[in-house]
Structure formats: structure tokens, C-alpha cells
């Protein structure tokens, strides 16, 4: 199995790639035996205030290959590519292009070294023709006249792009625009192409066409770095795969030998939260009832898409319901729908017997919903405001923050001091800005704030993302202790082991629908990963031996505990309505 973990020495990773890929050297590369890699990143580290985006990343891309870079959203892929494209400078580490050490200060430097980037969101002027768009900013290369047009034709034919230079960009579809973007980059002499999630905007047929283009590019000696988190796409087009998780490279894989499941496992990790034995705290009292939720929303291209369809779920007091799914399958919308941040097209949200379907966000928070947002910088904090003002955020109408319409800064400050001490927020004081805390401490402040208003339901979206290991354990413990006190928790996470370790019940979301459910005591991360790709539906139960094996691996290092308590009745009734026929066939997959 050509699948290395991060603990494997780095030279193994290189061997794995070079062995699987015959060196495609062009232009008389003299080096004997092994080809010089097109891109070689060594020990790249990039810190942002509050987070380490990249930590000691190593990446080797061979010339003339399609190299996939995989990882969940927020894993650090984009930061790494911005570093390679000269938009960010790394704090540590080296970049070598075609064996030569380089340093990029601007994207211009990267372009000069033959690197081009196609962004996820196109950067084209709609009211200009393809030809004008390509020439724009590159007037010095081949002029702006007939010569430039001829060059565009030539590149288009050489790589089989089929671009027509005289068409207005506004008349082109998404796939054609993408090809124009690729041509734009090639026109500027790029030999190394970075594609940032190129398939996100395409329909399946267009994806196939794009992959044909990529193969043409490869055969002409162009190196392609392909960013994605879609497992099957990567397996069908890539020659080599690198996986990034929590800001660091966790390993390389050869698509010929690796399965989608193994990749999913690498992406989400296999470190179980400390598997302490615990009794079920689930009660019979239904806290949250969501029925028939449906939301249609216009996407970036202006096309109306159904992002949530017929979502029905129940969370009881003392229960943690985990939602598993590959990112972008409707998790964010589900959270926003329950929080009242997105209008519902159909369905109802009932908390503790009171219908909140038409309430505004503030009323829902006052009714007892605590919220740990997925993106704490965007939705959870005022970065440039002091901690005590951040303590007020979201609870401005509640004690101790205000009396009537007036704020009560003194009480809010005193309570912030209490949160800082109780939740172990490491800070020199409550007057520093939220931006100056580390990610973990920011998150602890948010959790402390949300827990301070006796919530009935806690929505925790990726609660430990971008958080260091120490804070991670504290956050898990805080969620658990809240659960023991009778809180209902909706947990959304890309980390399958976090889901399995914390949840009482797991539901799988795929393309806006809850397609499968599982008992965390009887399911492996692998089988859950399969369901996340839409390959399995209904109730999932893994081979007991595989579950035991999984637990044994997870318990390594910590003390192995004897028995996992079963939560027998932790499946919702409606889940039995869903087809279960595929479940047995596809998911009894213990090896």
C-alpha cells in the first residue's frame, strides 16, 4: 500500500511518487536517474495571528504530472498555494522550482518562473472578448494585434482547449470561461499550473472535459497542481496525491493503489478523542425538532440550487447528534437555517416545544440556542474589539450584559473575567483585542460565552478546527460536561474521529439530504467515509471486528478501556423509512 503517514520519514514520500511515475523529462534534462521535480516545497510554515495555517509542509511535484493536493476546507491548501504563487511569504521553509531555490515576493515573480494560477472564482471581464481578456495585462508578450490572436489560436490547438478568440466572455458558459482562464495562464508562459478547486463550479460532463484537457496539458509537458476535496475526481485524474490536514502534510498516496476510503481517512485523521468510558446521558425529552426543512439558494454563478432538502431530525436532552459529510453538502446551511440566518423555503424548527420557524436570530438565541460558528473570525468574534465586548456579542439583550436598553459594562467585564478563569482562556487581560489571542483561546472564549447563558441547544460547527491539541481536549471536555447537564448538541465536524468519539447518534448529509445514519459504537471511520461520498445509504453498521480494530488503533498510546457502552435506542424513527438495502452490501467492509 503506497500510503504513508506523517510519521514516515520524508524520503519515503518521495520514493513513493518517483517509483510510481516514470520520469517525464522534457527539454533534455541531464540529471541522471531521477528527474528534477518541477516544484519542491520544504518545511513551509506560515503563521497568521491566532492560527498556524501551514506547519512544516513538504511537497514534491514531478514535472509533467497532475498532482492532486487534498484536504478539507481550512486544512491549509489555499495558503500553501498562495505561498507558491507569491501572494504570501512563508515564515519558514524553502521553495525550489525545477531544482532552483527561489523566493517569491509577488505573483509577478512566480509568473516569471513559469507558475500560473487559475482561481476558483474567475477573473475575467465579461464585456471584453476572449482575445482581449487574454491579452489584458500581457500586452508586452505578443502585442495586442494579429500576432497575439495567432498565438492564442496556436495555444488553443496545441492543448486542445477549443477556445474561440472573438467571442464575448459574457456569452460563454462556466466551462468555457475556465478554459479561457487556463489559456490566459498558458499565454503568459506558465509550465506549472495551479488549479484551485476547478471542479467546484462544473457539472459532471464538464468535469470529464476538463480532465481531458488536463491530460492533454500533461502530455505537452505542463505540470498541473490540482486542489480538490472530491475523492473520486482526484482518483480519476491525478498521477500523485498529497494530503494536507490541520495545516501539515499527512502523507502522499499513489492513486493506483489507494482507495477513496483510505484517502478520506487520511483527510479527516484517525486520532480519536480520548476514549474515556462514559454512560449514555440521552433522555427521552425532545429538545430540538426539525421537520421537512428545505432551502433553495442562488450560488455564485446565479443558478438557484436546492441546498437543503427534506431535513428532518430530532435531538433529545443530553444527546449529541453528529452530522458527518464532505464539506459543502449543506452543513453550513443547516446551521444557518436553525440559527435563523437563512430564510426557510419549507419546514419548521421547534425548540423545547416552541416554534421558532419564523423567529429572528436574536429571538432564537434568547430562546436558548448557543452557537459555536464554523468560521469564528467571520461569525463569532469582533476581532478588533476587546474581549469583554466580544463577551457581549450575541447576548446583548441578556443579563449580565444589559439592563433594559442600557449596557452594563461593569457586569459584562466582571463576567468576562469569570469566563477567562473558568474556561482557561490564556490572556493577559480582558482589554486586549480578540485578534491577539491564539485560535484555541479565541474558541474557548466563544464556548465560555455561549455556555454562560444556559443554552438548551448548542450548535457546534467544527469546534476544534484550527485549534491546538491542548485546547482541543479542553473543548471536547466542555462539550461533554454540558451534555451531562442535559444540553442537546448538534455537532458538525469534518473530523470523523471527533464525530465518532463525541456523538450519541450520527447522521450523514450528502447533497443537502440526510442519507444515512449510524451508531458511533458500531461504525468505523472508513464506513462513515463511504457513506459521505454518497455510496451508502440507510443504517450503517460495520463489521464488529473492524470496529474493535479501529478502537484498538485509536486507543494506542492512551489506556485501552474495556467496554464501550452501547446506546441502543439512539436512532430516530424516521431513519427507518430510508432504504437500507444498499447498506449491508456496501458497508460490511471490514478487512
Amino acid at each position: 500500500m503506497a500510503l504513508q503517514r506523517s510519521d514516515a520519514p520524508p524520503y519515503h514520500q518521495e520514493i513513493a511518487i518517483t517509483a510510481s511515475e516514470p520520469a517525464l523529462s522534457k527539454g533534455g534534462n541531464p540529471s541522471a536517474g531521477t528527474a528534477t521535480p518541477a516544484v519542491e516545497l520544504r518545511g513551509i510554515t506560515k503563521r497568521f495571528p491566532g492560527v498556524v495555517a501551514n506547519h512544516d509542509i513538504n511537497l514534491t511535484v514531478q514535472r509533467g504530472t497532475v498532482h492532486a493536493l487534498m484536504g478539507e476546507n481550512g486544512a491549509g491548501k489555499s495558503t500553501l498555494m498562495k505561498i507558491l504563487y507569491g501572494m504570501q511569504k512563508p515564515d519558514e521553509g524553502t521553495i525550489a522550482i525545477n531544482g532552483e531555490q527561489t523566493e517569491f515576493n509577488t505573483p509577478g515573480d512566480a509568473i516569471a518562473r513559469g507558475i500560473g494560477m487559475v482561481h476558483q472564482h474567475f477573473m475575467l471581464a465579461d464585456n471584453l472578448t476572449v482575445w482581449e481578456n487574454v491579452v489584458l495585462g500581457g500586452e508586452k508578450l505578443h502585442g495586442i494585434g494579429a500576432k497575439a490572436k495567432a498565438k492564442i489560436k496556436e495555444i488553443s490547438d496545441q492543448y486542445g482547449l477549443g477556445v474561440r478568440p472573438d467571442v464575448l466572455v459574457e456569452d460563454l458558459g462556466v466551462a468555457d470561461r475556465q478554459r479561457v482562464e487556463i489559456l490566459k495562464v498558458l499565454y503568459r508562459g506558465a509550465k506549472i499550473l495551479i488549479l484551485d478547486e476547478p471542479t467546484a463550479v462544473l457539472v459532471p460532463q464538464e468535469v470529464d472535459a476538463l480532465f481531458d484537457n488536463l491530460r492533454d496539458l500533461k502530455s505537452e509537458g505542463v505540470t498541473v497542481i490540482f486542489i480538490s476535496h472530491k475523492l473520486h475526481e482526484v482518483l480519476s485524474v491525478a498521477d500523485a496525491i498529497s494530503v494536507i490536514r490541520r495545516g501539515t502534510t499527512v502523507g502522499d498516496a499513489d492513486p493506483a493503489d489507494v482507495t477513496a476510503r483510505q484517502l478520506a481517512e487520511m483527510m479527516v485523521g484517525a486520532e480519536l478523542p480520548s476514549p474515556e468510558s462514559r454512560e449514555s446521558t440521552v433522555t427521552d425529552v425532545e429538545m430540538l425538532k426539525v421537520d421537512g426543512l428545505r432551502i433553495a439558494k442562488a450560488d455564485a454563478e446565479g443558478i438557484e440550487r436546492v441546498v437543503l432538502d427534506d431535513i428532518t431530525l430530532r435531538i433529545r436532552k443530553g444527546e449529541i447528534l453528529g452530522i458527518a459529510g464532505v464539506e459543502g453538502n449543506g452543513q453550513a446551511e443547516l446551521v444557518e437555517a436553525i440559527m435563523g440566518m437563512l430564510p426557510l423555503d419549507a419546514g419548521s424548527v421547534v425548540l423545547d416545544g416552541s416554534d421558532l420557524s419564523s423567529s429572528l436570530t436574536r429571538a432564537r438565541r434568547e430562546a436558548g440556542i448557543g452557537y459555536i460558528p464554523e468560521d469564528r473570525h467571520k461569525h463569532g468574534l469582533l476581532l478588533e474589539a476587546p474581549l469583554w465586548e466580544n463577551r457581549i456579542l450575541g447576548h446583548v439583550t441578556e443579563a449580565p450584559n444589559s439592563k433594559g436598553v442600557l449596557l452594563d459594562p461593569a457586569a459584562a467585564r466582571a463576567d468576562t473575567q469569570r469566563i477567562v478563569e473558568e474556561f482557561d482562556v490564556r490572556t493577559p487581560g480582558i482589554d486586549v483585542t480578540a485578534a491577539s489571542l491564539s485560535g484555541g483561546n479565541q474558541q474557548k472564549l466563544i464556548i465560555g460565552r455561549e455556555m454562560s447563558h444556559n443554552p438548551k441547544l448548542l450548535i457546534a460547527a467544527h469546534p476544534t478546527r484550527g485549534v491546538d491539541v491542548g485546547a482541543q481536549a479542553q473543548i471536547w471536555e466542555q462539550i461533554r460536561s454540558a451534555q451531562r447537564e442535559g444540553l442537546a448538541v448538534l455537532l458538525i465536524s469534518a473530523d470523523l474521529d471527533e464525530l465518532i468519539g463525541l456523538s450519541d447518534t450520527i447522521r450523514v448529509i450528502y447533497r443537502g439530504r440526510l442519507v444515512a445514519d449510524a451508531d458511533p459504537a458500531t461504525v468505523t471511520a472508513e464506513d462513515l467515509g463511504t457513506a459521505m461520498t454518497g455510496a451508502a445509504t440507510g443504517h450503517i453498521e460495520s463489521d464488529p471486528e473492524a470496529v474493535e480494530e479501529d478502537k484498538a488503533i485509536a486507543a494506542e498510546g492512551t489506556e485501552t478501556e474495556a467496554e464501550h457502552p452501547h446506546h441502543g435506542e439512539s436512532h430516530d424513527d424516521e431513519s427507518h423509512d430510508e432504504p437500507t438495502d444498499t447498506a449491508d452490501g456496501t458497508t460490511q467492509a471490514g478487512e
Partner: protein
């Protein structure tokens, strides 16, 4: 046990605050000095002695009549600054204070001339009319933004042009202006009734407008609303991060509309000091450009009520003393250059200082936490 970390934390907090104030002052002071320097160079190049020019301004500025003039003018400027700053605090760029105050002053002048009630009813009535008209005019932009997503920058600029047209349409004989004015070529409303006249204080330097108390009151209320009320918190939160405010339960659309209405109501007051204390009528000669000046004043004053007071005084001082420059052979326009340079410098300086301050605090917090950790480790070793 809880008291000792408390006392340990206090001085740290104070130090951060002191530094923040210092950093906050550094930017405007540097901007003013830089613009004085640039204007000095400009004067020098045109062959005139810059030191003498500044001397002329300073000498006149220290005289009591100039000081009263400065205060009177600053009253108007302050209201303009606060009106714009209110929107700025939640990232709402109300460029339309210009149109709002013109329409508001026209209506206040018209009503003031038609109605003659006792002062204690008449003056509040005129204030309310002006604020209401300003709010309605700004509210158009607010409604457009909330319902149709029209940028308030675009709509308020266009409403400025429309306001000029509306004023032109209404300020004709037989509508808002008297039918036969006869004596003068200029078209203007009837003078407001005597009961509308705002009180003045007689000083050595001449009459000081009583409207200065209204301006101070507006400033105090502005500060209290921002820092002490739930509404103010929501407003500041929206200004700092709309997405976080939305997630925290702020009804952003309602906030946009409310802020636009309040900003417009404040803008409605801009024309009143002149109307009720000086000209007593609205005519073609009514001072234009105050809304745009308010933008510059709010920027320099960093949208804080106290900062705006200082920047209003500075701009008023420059405008009042500039009148003396032509007598000494200098072009008066140099003051306009100076004001422009101040605004450009201050915008750049604030952003630089903001980034510097943020970075510095992050470093300090890091260092302080490291020191705490080291101290804790030492204690453990000792114990």
C-alpha cells in the same frame, strides 16, 4: 486567590490603554504637521514666505473676535461631522449629508416664516421639522439599500443632485419664496419669524451662537448611545463585522435603515445654526458644501464625538483665519490645500497606525503569556 491575578492584570490593561491613546493621537498630529510642512513648501516654491503666512493666521486666530467666529463656525462643522460619523460607525457611507441639510434647511426656513408661535414651541418645532426632512431624504437611500441592495454611496450622491433640483423647484416666487420680492435679484424665502431666533451669548469678541449647546448635547448623546446602549453596541458590532453581527442576532437591514434615518436627521440640523442665528432665511447664497466638509471632519476626528470636536475646531480655525491671508498678499486657497492634505494624510496614517497597533498588541500578548508561563514553571520547580 482570585484577587492576586486580578491585581496583576490591571496594570497590563492600563498600559495597553495608554499606548492606544498615544497611537490614536499620533496619526492626526502627524497628518496636521505634514500638511503644514507641505503647504510651507508650496508657499516657498511660489516665492512667498511661509512662516509669515502662518504667523498671520496665528496672530489673527488668537484675537477674541476670531475665536468667537471660530466657535460659531465649528458648531456647524461639528454637526456635519457627527451626522456623517454616525453612518461611518457602521460602515454606512452617507455621502448625502449635503443634500439632506439643504432640503431640511429649506423646509425649516419656510415653516419658520409661515408659523409664529412662542419661542419655546417654535424652535423645537423647527428642529423637529429639519430633522424629519433630513431623515426622510436619507431614508430614501436607506430603503433602496435594504430592499434593492443599492449602494448607499451611489444613491446618496444621486440624491444630492436631486436635492439641488428640488430646492431649485421649490425656491421660486409663489412657492417657497414670496411672490414679489422686488428689491433684490436673489430669490429667497421670507425671513423666519422673530420667535424662531436662537439665543446668543454676548462676549467680548461678539455674539456667540447659542446653538453651540445643541452641538454639545448632540455630541454627548451620540457618545452615550454608542457606548452605553444595546443599540449602540449593535451599531458598532455591525460596523466592525457585518457577518459577526448578523450571526449574533443583529437585524442588519433594520440597523441600516435606522442608522440612515438618524444620520439624515442629524444632517438636517447642519443648516440650522446659520438659519436661526445668522441669515434667518434660506436663499441661493446659503452656504453650500457643508455635507462634504462633514466627511473630512469625521475622517479626521476618527468618528468619535471628541475627535470630531477637535477636527471641527481645527477646520473652523483654518477657514476663519484664512480670510486674513489675502491682506498679507497670500492666496486664501492655500488653506483649502492644507485641509485636503490633512484628510489624505490622516486616512493613510490611521490605517498604518491601526495595523501597527494590532501587530504590536499581538506581540505583547504573546510575550506576556510566555512570561506568565515561565513564571508558572518556576513556581512549580520551587514547590
Amino acid at each position: 486567590m482570585t484577587s492576586s491575578p486580578d491585581t496583576a492584570k490591571r496594570p497590563a490593561a492600563k498600559r495597553f490603554d495608554g499606548e492606544r491613546i498615544l497611537l490614536g493621537l499620533a496619526a492626526p498630529v502627524l497628518a496636521v504637521l505634514l500638511s503644514v510642512l507641505l503647504c510651507g513648501i508650496l508657499l516657498g516654491i511660489s516665492g512667498k514666505d511661509p512662516f509669515n503666512a502662518f504667523n498671520v493666521m496665528l496672530t489673527y486666530g488668537t484675537k477674541s473676535d476670531a475665536q468667537v467666529l471660530t466657535l460659531n463656525r465649528a458648531t456647524t462643522y461639528y454637526l456635519a461631522g457627527v451626522a456623517v460619523a454616525f453612518g461611518f460607525r457602521m460602515n454606512l457611507f452617507n455621502i448625502g449629508a449635503e443634500g439632506q441639510y439643504k432640503v431640511a434647511a429649506l423646509f425649516a426656513a419656510f415653516i419658520g416664516a409661515q408659523v409664529n408661535l412662542p419661542s419655546f414651541i417654535q424652535i423645537p418645532l423647527l428642529l423637529i421639522v429639519a430633522m424629519l426632512v433630513g431623515a426622510i431624504w436619507a431614508g430614501i437611500a436607506g430603503v433602496l439599500k435594504v430592499t434593492r441592495g443599492v449602494s448607499e454611496v451611489i444613491s446618496t450622491i444621486m440624491l444630492n443632485a436631486i436635492a439641488t433640483a428640488v430646492v431649485g423647484l421649490l425656491l421660486v416666487p409663489g412657492v417657497f419664496a414670496p411672490k414679489a420680492s422686488g428689491t433684490s435679484n436673489s430669490i429667497q424665502t421670507d425671513p423666519v419669524s422673530a420667535s424662531s431666533h436662537f439665543f446668543t451669548l454676548n462676549t467680548q469678541g461678539g455674539p456667540l451662537w447659542g446653538f453651540i449647546f445643541v452641538a454639545v448635547l448632540v455630541g454627548v448623546v451620540f457618545q452615550l448611545v454608542l457606548t452605553r446602549t444595546r443599540f449602540g453596541f449593535d451599531l458598532r458590532a455591525t460596523g466592525r463585522s457585518e457577518s459577526a453581527a448578523h450571526a449574533s442576532g443583529v437585524n442588519v437591514k433594520r440597523m441600516v435603515l435606522t442608522s440612515m434615518l438618524v444620520s439624515g436627521a442629524l444632517a438636517g440640523l447642519i443648516g440650522l445654526p446659520d438659519l436661526l442665528q445668522n441669515s434667518y432665511f434660506y436663499g441661493q447664497s446659503f452656504q453650500p458644501g457643508l455635507g462634504f466638509l462633514g466627511i473630512a471632519i469625521a475622517l479626521l476626528g476618527r468618528n468619535s464625538p471628541i475627535g470630531i470636536a477637535f477636527s471641527a475646531l481645527l477646520f473652523a480655525f483654518l477657514d476663519v483665519t484664512a480670510v486674513q491671508l489675502p491682506f498679507a498678499g497670500y492666496p486664501q486657497e492655500i488653506v483649502t490645500v492644507m485641509q485636503g492634505v490633512i484628510v489624505i494624510c490622516v486616512v493613510v496614517a490611521y490605517e498604518l497606525v491601526r495595523r501597527f497597533g494590532l501587530k504590536r498588541q499581538q506581540q505583547k500578548v504573546g510575550a506576556e503569556l510566555a512570561a506568565q508561563a515561565a513564571a508558572a514553571a518556576k513556581k512549580e520547580v520551587a514547590a
